[in-house]
Symmetry: C2
DNA sequence: CAGCAAATTGCAAACGATTGCAATTGTGCG
DNA sequence: CGCACAATTGCAATCGTTTGCAATTTGCTG
C-alpha cells in the first residue's frame, strides 16, 4: 500500500503505458492485469476492482496492436470502394455514401471497426489481395462491383470472409448482397408504359453490371409490350452530365416519351434539363428513377422511382459477413426493390 | 537450390505466412528478408531480387500488426464523426459524406489508411480518449464539433495529432479547419437584403456551433441594415423536416420575405414546401442556402447559396494533421466561403 | 490437523516483423 | 599473401498482450 502510494506520488499520472507498468503498481503480474481488464476471467473480484481502479485513474488502455497480434484478429472490417468507371464520382455518390453510413452503424453495433479504402483498380491491379493480405482486417466488404467482377470472383475462391454489394448473377462464386436490379428495371418500365409511354429510353451507362441488369429488365418488359427502348449513355456526376443529357434530349425530342434513369441522381438532372427545355413532366414525358434518395421526394414534381432499401442492405452485408467469419459459406442475398409512386410517371 | 526446389515441391504454394517461412525457402535469415522487402536497405541486389521473386510467387505479405507493433506507428488515421444532436441524420448528411470522400482521397494519396468511427457522445462519454488511446491510429480527424466542443478542447491540450472540421472561435485550443461561418452568414444576409428582402428568417437549429455562427453573421448584417431576423428551428433530415418547415411557413406567411437556410438540404426542402404553398421564389420570397451541394444547382429554380470548398477543406485537414504528426503545433485554417449567385435570391 | 480440491496468480512462451550490433564474406592494395 | 575496410548477412532483443500450464494460496472435509 505504502509502496503503491510512493509510486503514485513519484510517477503519478506519468506513464502507465503497458500492462507491466500497471501490474507493478498494482503489485501483481501482467498476466493478471490482462485477465482482470478482459473482465470475465477467473481473477478474484477484489483484485479486479483494484486493477480497474488503477487503470481508470491512469487512463490506461491496452495497446491494440499487441493485442491484435497476439490473438490473431483485428476487430476491423475493411470496406473497399472500387472506382472503376467514373473515378471522382462514385465516392461522393449519395447512394454509396449512405450505404457506408449504415454500414458504419451496423459494424459499430457488432463491435467492429471500419477501415475505409478507396481503390482505383486501373492504378492498382492488386488492390483486393493487398487489402485482404494486409493482415489489418478480419474481413472485407466491397461496395460495388464496378468493373472488377472477375477479380472479385478470383479472390472469392480462396477467401471466405468477403461480401460484396452489387448485382447477383447466376452461378457466381462470390457472396453478394444487392437489389434485384433486373426486377427493378421491369418495375420501372412497367410503370412508364402503364402511365402511357409509347417509346422508352434508358438514361445512363450500361457498362456497370448493375445498370446493365436494370436495362435488361426494362428491355424485357418493353419487348413483351411491344414498346421500343434505347440506351442513352451518360456519366454519373451532375456537373458533367447536364450537357450530355441536354444533347440526348435534343436528339430524342418527340421520339421518346418515357425515360428510365439508371439513378435518381441522373433522373434529377434530367428533370431539370427537361424543365429548362419546357417539356412537361409527366405530361409530355415521363420519368422513373432508381434508388429513392432523399432528394427524390423533394424535386418538383416529386420523382417516381424504384426504391432500394439501403438499411436492409447494410444489415444484410454485415450479417452475412459475420457468419462467414464463423466459417459458414453463406448464400447471396437478393433484396426486392419497390416502386415508389410519386408524380413523374 | 535442390533444397529450395524440394521445399517448393513439398509446400509449394502452401503456406508462406511469415518472414521466417520465406527466409527458410530463400536460405537466408528473417532479418534479411525484412530488409529486402523494405526495399531500400543494404541488401545485395541479387539477394533482394531473389527474395522478391519468391515473395511474389507465394503472394506473401508481411503481417501488418506485427510490423505496426514493432515500429510503434500504424499508418492509420482515425476519422470520427460525432453525432451529437440529430443522430441518424448527420452520418448521411451529404456535406459530411462528401468531405469524407475527399478525405479518403487525400489520405490514400499520402499513404495512410482511414479508420472510420461513428460516435454517439451521449452513449459514450469517453469516445475521443478511447479512439486516441486505442493505439490503432497515429492521428485523428474529427468531422464536426457537434456539441462536443468542450471535450475536444480538453483532449487537445494533451494530444497534438488531432485536427477538427468545424467552426473557429477566438482563443480555442484545438486546431480546426473550416469555413468562416460568420462571414458566410453575412454574405447570405447581404444578398437577401440586396435582392429586396425586408424581413428575414434563419431556418435551422441554432444550437450547433457552426449554425450559430452563420446565424450570428446574418444577424449582424440585419441589425446594421435595420432589418428584422428571426430563427426558425428545424431538424436536418428531409423526412422529419418537411412538416416542421411547413408549419413555420404557415406562421410567417406575409411576415418574412427572405429565408437564410442553415444548409442546402434544408433550403431544398423549404423550396419544395414553398412551391406547394404556391409561393413564388424569388418573387414573393427569397432563399439563400449554405454548402453548395450538387443538388443545389439542380433545383427549380436553382438555389443561390454560400459555397464551402469541400476539397480544399479536406486537403487542409490532412496537411495540417501530417504536420502535427511531425510535431508542429499548427494554427487553425479558416477558409473563405463564396456566394454562388443563382436564382432564388 | 492432515489432505485434497478449488480458486487465484505467476511464469514464460508465443504472435511476426524490425533493427542495432556483431560476425562473416568479399575486395582492393601494398 | 596478408591486412584493412567495405559490403552483406545473421543474431537476438524488442514491441505489449494473451494464455496454457504450473505453482501457490485458500477453503473444506473427515
Amino acid at each position: 500500500m505504502a509502496d503503491t502510494d510512493v509510486q503514485n506520488g513519484a510517477e503519478s499520472a506519468a506513464k502507465v503505458r503497458t500492462l507491466a507498468d500497471l501490474a507493478r503498481i498494482a503489485g501483481v503480474s501482467a498476466g493478471t492485469v490482462s485477465r482482470a481488464l478482459a473482465g470475465n476471467s477467473l481473477v478474484n473480484t477484489k483484485t479486479r476492482e483494484k486493477i480497474e481502479a488503477i487503470a481508470r485513474e491512469h487512463g490506461f488502455r491496452p495497446n491494440q496492436m499487441a493485442s491484435k497480434l497476439r490473438r490473431q484478429k483485428t476487430g476491423v472490417i475493411g470496406v473497399a470502394i472500387p472506382l472503376g468507371h467514373d473515378v471522382r464520382q462514385q465516392i461522393s455518390d449519395t447512394f454509396f455514401m449512405t450505404l457506408l453510413g449504415y454500414l458504419a452503424d451496423e459494424l459499430t453495433e457488432k463491435g467492429y471497426d471500419l477501415m475505409l479504402r478507396r481503390v482505383i483498380p486501373a492504378q492498382d491491379e492488386d488492390w483486393l489481395d493487398r487489402f485482404i493480405g494486409s493482415g489489418m482486417v478480419d474481413g472485407v466488404i466491397v461496395i460495388g462491383q464496378s468493373d472488377q467482377f472477375e477479380r472479385i470472383e478470383d479472390v472469392a475462391d480462396g477467401y471466405l470472409p468477403m461480401v460484396v454489394w452489387g448485382n447477383h448473377q447466376e452461378g457466381q462464386r462470390h457472396c453478394v448482397v444487392g437489389s434485384n436490379n433486373r426486377l427493378g428495371g421491369k418495375l420501372a418500365a412497367e410503370r412508364l408504359i402503364a402511365s402511357g409511354a409509347k417509346s422508352l429510353a434508358f438514361l445512363g451507362d450500361t457498362q456497370p453490371i448493375e445498370f446493365a441488369a436494370r436495362y435488361a429488365g426494362a428491355k424485357e418488359v418493353a419487348a413483351k409490350m411491344g414498346v421500343a427502348i434505347r440506351p442513352l449513355p451518360t456519366h454519373l456526376s451532375p456537373e458533367r452530365t447536364g450537357e450530355e443529357i441536354a444533347k440526348h434530349l435534343r436528339e430524342i425530342e418527340g421520339k421518346v416519351d418515357g425515360i428510365f434513369a439508371a439513378t435518381d441522381t441522373i433522373a434529377v438532372t434530367c428533370l431539370k434539363e427537361l424543365r429548362e427545355r419546357g417539356m412537361e413532366v409527366p405530361g409530355q414525358i415521363k420519368i422513373v428513377g432508381f434508388d429513392d434518395l432523399p432528394i427524390s421526394s423533394q424535386t418538383m414534381p416529386p420523382l417516381t422511382t424504384v426504391r432500394q432499401d439501403i438499411a436492409a442492405g447494410a444489415k444484410g452485408l454485415v450479417d452475412l459477413l459475420l457468419r462467414r467469419l464463423e466459417g459458414e459459406d453463406t448464400e447471396s442475398l437478393v433484396l426486392p426493390p419497390h416502386l415508389v409512386l410519386r408524380e413523374t410517371a
